[in-house]
């Protein structure tokens, strides 16, 4: 708890630096990453991150300084070169996109490691610290780093704000943008430059290896929650910010805990949670929907069985033994019990000791299901030319999904037939 207060009061100047730095980095990378993700360029981001190393190393060798602006310039140049090479390989050679990305990623990364090793073994003086680009080292950010990150983030946010509409168009439909005369080349150049810039700052905190996660994971998690691009970007930024805060906190509190990997772990947690719990498209809501479907099917089948037991008899609303239902249709015990409970909750049946009878409302509902079954069978024979011995199994499923609107259409289209193709009476509501 003390650590919590220590950290979140931001008294410690070092904590302030780290948190501020991570704030800038997560904002810019999740913002730019959202567009990269939507343009299906996730892997390109990864390749660019790896390709920054040689640029950083060369910039250091030429200048002998670790000034962030010098390193950013070097990174920007080598990031851009990697994008151009990938583009060229994909368009002008037989090499396909995935191969060109993999090639650029590994070759540039190899070159970077080579140069870093060279720097470490020669007398460049204050060379220590360049290796932080490999795995990131948020804890060692300096004031001048933070100033640079802040300015870069400001530039990125401002430019995306100004060109938001065009970036959206370009990401959704590049050809259309080209067709209406947008300067697509200039806009793509701008977008790619922002991507490289965001990665350049990001790798100093999480390193080249983990950078792709910081770019893509927030967007991937956010997309599940919304259908609006602006909301998606805001949610992505929220995920990234929150993960950075927690990650920094953990590495502050526990000795020898790295910040970058923790950020990525927490981001991954958000992504997985989103996949599981998001409304509509999440795993759980899909499971729930399927459970509801199967409950609907089972309860309606019981009603139908009860209806069949009474059909053609004088007396309605009699008690029926559960065995009789099972004779009409096989249910396993759990399903039967659950479905019966559901039916009695809806007051469609009255439950007795091992017996059951339809209520008035239940009988109407049972009629409806049987009616839909028979109407659909009529439709299959009349409109789709199914033979009458091939229609039953199809109708068994479709009867459960037909809505009142479609029912009305069916009745209208078939002219309210009295009997179905098997000469059974079609029971209407009255």
């Amino acid at each position: 708890m003390d650590a919590f207060i220590d950290f979140f009061s931001f008294q410690d100047p070092n904590v302030r630096l780290v948190v501020l730095g991570m704030l800038f980095i997560s904002l810019s990378s999740s913002l730019v990453g959202s567009f990269a993700f939507l343009q299906k360029k996730s892997l390109v981001g990864d390749a660019v991150a790896h390709s920054l190393l040689p640029g950083i190393a060369i910039a250091f060798m030429l200048s002998g300084s670790k000034n962030p602006w010098v390193l950013i310039l070097g990174a920007l140049i080598s990031g851009w070169i990697s994008i151009l090479i990938m583009d060229y390989l994909t368009k002008r050679s037989k090499i396909k996109t995935d191969t060109s990305i993999a090639l650029v990623l590994s070759v540039m990364f190899g070159l970077g490691i080579l140069l870093l090793t060279h720097i470490q073994h020669s007398d460049f003086g204050n060379q220590s610290g360049l290796d932080k680009f490999l795995f990131g080292k948020a804890a060692s950010l300096t004031l001048i780093d933070i100033q640079a990150f802040g300015l870069v983030t400001l530039i990125i946010v401002a430019l995306v704000g100004v060109f938001y509409r065009e970036f959206k168009l370009l990401s959704f439909n590049y050809e259309f943008a080209q067709a209406i005369g947008m300067p697509v080349k200039a806009l793509s150049f701008l977008m790619n430059t922002l991507l490289v810039l965001a990665i350049t700052t990001g790798i100093q905190a999480v390193g080249v290896v983990l950078m792709a996660a910081l770019l893509i994971a927030p967007a991937a998690a956010a997309k599940i929650w919304t259908y609006s691009l602006s909301k998606m970007i805001l949610i992505a930024m929220g995920f990234a910010l929150f993960s950075s805060l927690i990650g920094s906190f953990i590495s502050y509190t526990y000795v020898n805990m790295p910040t970058g990997p923790w950020i990525v772990v927490i981001l991954t947690f958000f992504t997985v949670m989103s996949l599981l719990f998001a409304p509509k498209r999440g795993v759980f809501s899909r499971m729930k929907r399927q459970r509801e479907n199967s409950l609907k099917i089972n309860t309606e089948n019981i009603l139908k069985a009860l209806y069949h037991l009474e059909e053609g008899k004088e007396e309605f609303f009699e008690w029926h033994k559960l065995d009789k239902i099972l004779e009409k249709r096989a249910f396993n015990k759990v399903t039967l019990t659950n479905s019966l409970k559901q039916l009695s909750r809806k007051n469609w049946i009255v439950l007795g000791e091992q017996k059951v009878k339809l209520s008035k409302a239940g009988e109407l509902e049972a009629r409806r299901v049987v009616r839909l079954h028979r109407l659909w069978e009529m439709y299959l024979t009349k409109r789709m030319n199914f033979k009458s011995d091939h229609i039953h199994s199809n109708a068994e499923t479709i009867e459960h999904i037909i809505t009142p609107e479609i029912e009305r259409e069916l009745i209208l289209e078939l002219g309210a037939p009295k009997i179905d193709p098997h000469s059974s009476k079609i029971p209407y509501a009255d």
């Binding site: 065009e166 959206k168 168009l169 959704f172 005369g181 691009l229």
Partner: protein, 268 residues
Amino acid sequence: MSEETFDLALEVHNLTVSYNRKPVLWDIDFSLPQGKLIGIVGPNGSGKTTLLKTIMGLLDPDSGYVEIKGEPMEKVRNQISYVPQRESVDWDFPADVMDVVKMGRYQKSNILKRLSQDDKRIAIESLEKVDLLEFSKRQIGELSGGQQQRVFIARALAQQGDIYLMDEPFVGVDAATEDAILQLLVEMKSKGKTVIIVHHDLQTAYEYFDWMVLLNTRLVACGPKEEVFTKEKLQEAYGGRLTVLSKIGDLISNKEFPIREKGFSEKK
């Protein structure tokens, strides 16, 4: 070719276009009149979409040029409405119907500006014309294929061009949408718009269009449909490829041979 004179909507001069170095269109040369429904018709792989994209300036031709009302494309872009193939975009993109239709109002000249009230009104009217106004807040991925196609057409309507270029707008749509689109096309024609449509279905082509461009990597015929839709010409377009021509194409591709000699330039 018809002898009557007409106001030109579009002229295509000696257009040769290749894909992966292999020529898919050979010296295409034709003119199209204004105010007609025009179908670009031909078998699969005959270069219909390539032709449309080259006209739009999305692909660079190896030779030849396109003029719209006597002007190069770049000068008259804002008079052209474009409907790309429906499958060319990812419909899972986070956007709603109105977002997409508004894209029809984007222009180079309003890059840093907000869309005006006029722009928004035009977008709403366009959506109404395709009968999708009630879906304006719907996520585009939740629409049926026919509805998605109508969203693209609404976007093109919002562009308010004089000439419409559409790539296979009838593919994968239900009968109701097909009728709705067709009605819209006829209405556009009655307002003097020129509509040029890439269409692969020969059955319906004669019924839909006034004019036709019959294509199979080379121009087979171009003119009023009565002149184009003859047994001989259809046979020529659909009766398989010209073997020698495709052999030449393969040679050019394999030997990385130039399609035009250096220093040769098209006379304008």
